[in-house]
């Protein structure tokens, strides 16, 4: 056998985590674009979503502010839908593909590998949201005049991260059981409603509000609308309060997700169910 370069290891915990996140994002993106079906959830589905939303609402109201509300809502719906669908499948894919054992055998907690995948999957959602925005701007000539552009972009980035954190939490369910897809899929529509993507969350019956308030995207959407829409009236909170709650809930999701990953991985190893499909 030829003389091989010795396999020197990357030093430092932060360096290792960055290396794993980068690898996971890179591989997930390669696998995503290798499958031509990526066009369906990211281009075709948002197009249909937006068309339906516009035809439903555009005749009943006037003013670009409402249309922008609609575009932002549709974008966030698309982003959420892609995040939960793809996050649920990020570990399911490994089970199906027969790469679960190889992934688990790596000397790094599975949560970091999953986080890289969820980050890319949420990024797909951003692509989806941007496409919806473009349809709104070009086709329906929605005005894109923002009240506070820096606050809008900051809230959008933080909402992206909060969706990723929620996606990671969902992934733990899939790790535990191959039947977890049922649970994560059934989360899609309730979360659309509870986070107020298409109407203000305050319109929900009071009993649903605690659930809505536990979802970080609810606060993210509020912050985005406050920063984008002139005279927007939603929850009786300010942009700063919305952002603070969203960040706090995002950290809570991450902490819970990392804790569950550790517990679920140990449990699945004990039960011998990790690579079953």
């Amino acid at each position: 056998m030829h003389e091989l370069t010795p396999g020197k290891q990357t030093q430092g915990r932060v360096g290792r985590v960055i290396q794993v996140l980068r690898a996971s994002v890179f591989l997930t993106s390669k696998l995503f674009f290798a499958d031509p079906q990526w066009l369906i959830p990211n281009i075709i589905a948002p197009f249909i979503f937006t068309l339906v939303a516009f035809f439903l609402f555009s005749g009943q109201t006037s003013g670009s502010s409402f249309l922008l509300y609609l575009v932002l809502g549709s974008g966030l719906m698309g982003m959420w839908g892609t995040t939960i669908y793809a996050s649920a499948n990020s570990i399911g894919f490994d089970r199906w593909n027969g790469t679960m054992e190889s992934t688990l055998a790596a000397p790094i907690p599975l949560s970091w590998i999953a986080l890289g995948r969820v980050l890319f999957n949420t990024l797909q959602g951003v692509l989806n949201a941007v496409f919806i925005l473009v349809i709104g701007l070009v086709w329906f000539r929605v005005g894109f005049t923002l009240v506070n552009p820096p606050a809008f972009f900051f809230a959008s980035i933080m909402t992206f991260l909060s969706l990723s954190a929620f996606g990671l939490l969902m992934t733990t369910i899939l790790l535990l059981s191959r039947k977890g897809g049922f649970i994560t899929n059934s989360m899609e529509i309730p979360v659309y409603i509870a986070t107020g993507t298409m109407f203000p969350v305050i319109l929900l019956p009071v009993v649903y509000l605690p659930f809505a308030f536990m979802l970080a995207p609810t606060w993210g959407i509020e912050a985005i609308r406050l920063a984008a829409l002139p005279g927007y009236v939603g929850l009786p909170t300010t942009y700063t309060v919305d952002m603070t709650i969203m960040v706090a809930e995002t950290f809570a999701y991450l902490a819970l997700a990392f804790f569950l990953f550790k517990r679920v991985e140990a449990y699945a190893k004990k039960m011998g169910t990790l690579e079953e499909y």
Partner: protein
Amino acid sequence: MQKPLGPAISVKGLTREYVTRNFFGGVARTTSALSGIDFEVANGELFGLIGPNGAGKTTTIKILTTLLTPTGGDARILGLDVRKDLYEIRRRIGIVFGGERGLYNRVSAVDNLRYFSDLYGVDSSVARKRIPELLEVVGLSDRAQEKVEKYSRGMKQRLHIAKALVHDPELIFLDEPTIGLDPGGARDIRNMVRDLKAQGKTILLTTHYMFEAEELCQRIAVISKGKIVALDTPSELKNMVRDISVIELRTFEATMDYVEALRKLPNVVRVVADLDSEQQTIRVQTPLGADLLPKVTAALPAGARIIDRTIKEPTLEDAYLRLVEE
């Protein structure tokens, strides 16, 4: 990395039970996959683990590679505990899973190796040199940028080996690495295993092919029904069946009825037949040797012919069959 002073693998009283639960969460059934096995593998040794399907080989490998928690006993890899030192063990071992599992088929060989080198923490500057070198070693350099889904089974298996070596492990687990390969592909893999052994790597190999285990392994453990029923060098294992010799027949148009007739002959210990080919191979184990030949010939039904007959020394397969059937 300095090699540990003790054995590379040390297994003591290892057990693993699987619990099946009923609808209400109660225990419906407990299945024992491993019932207290013990063995050690020395540094630099090429050790074989053989046994029939469901004997406990894969369970053993999963426990030793930290993918499954044992329910009892103790297992140490390079002096480290499989229950506590997961990441340190994983960093120092390589695993080759047999068959089509374990690769991302929609991306290239380079993408697969780059991904796994990152997961294993290989420094990026090292990976840039090591990945092309490994692809050269496994003979995939000219197809390195092609999607893995276009590879033959043999090429995928060679890529598996490159993947297992990407982080330069001290100990390598090869779980049926030649399963389903054509003779040429299997020979390539066996040559690679020999090269790895020559480099001083410790290897644990599981295989269904007895000649492969005999050819490659320094010592072999035979596992059956979750227990190690024999552990020795290939020649010592063969010595266990020195009391018999083997009549090997090449026949034409022999059927299962002939095999059954042979099994009923006195002093026949075992008959193993391969009837799938146009010419059949039948191996008759007997303590009588050539003295049994007249009866073997007499049992031949009309229309069937014996093309060739040879008296042979028992092989590892003969020893294996006796051990797992006892």
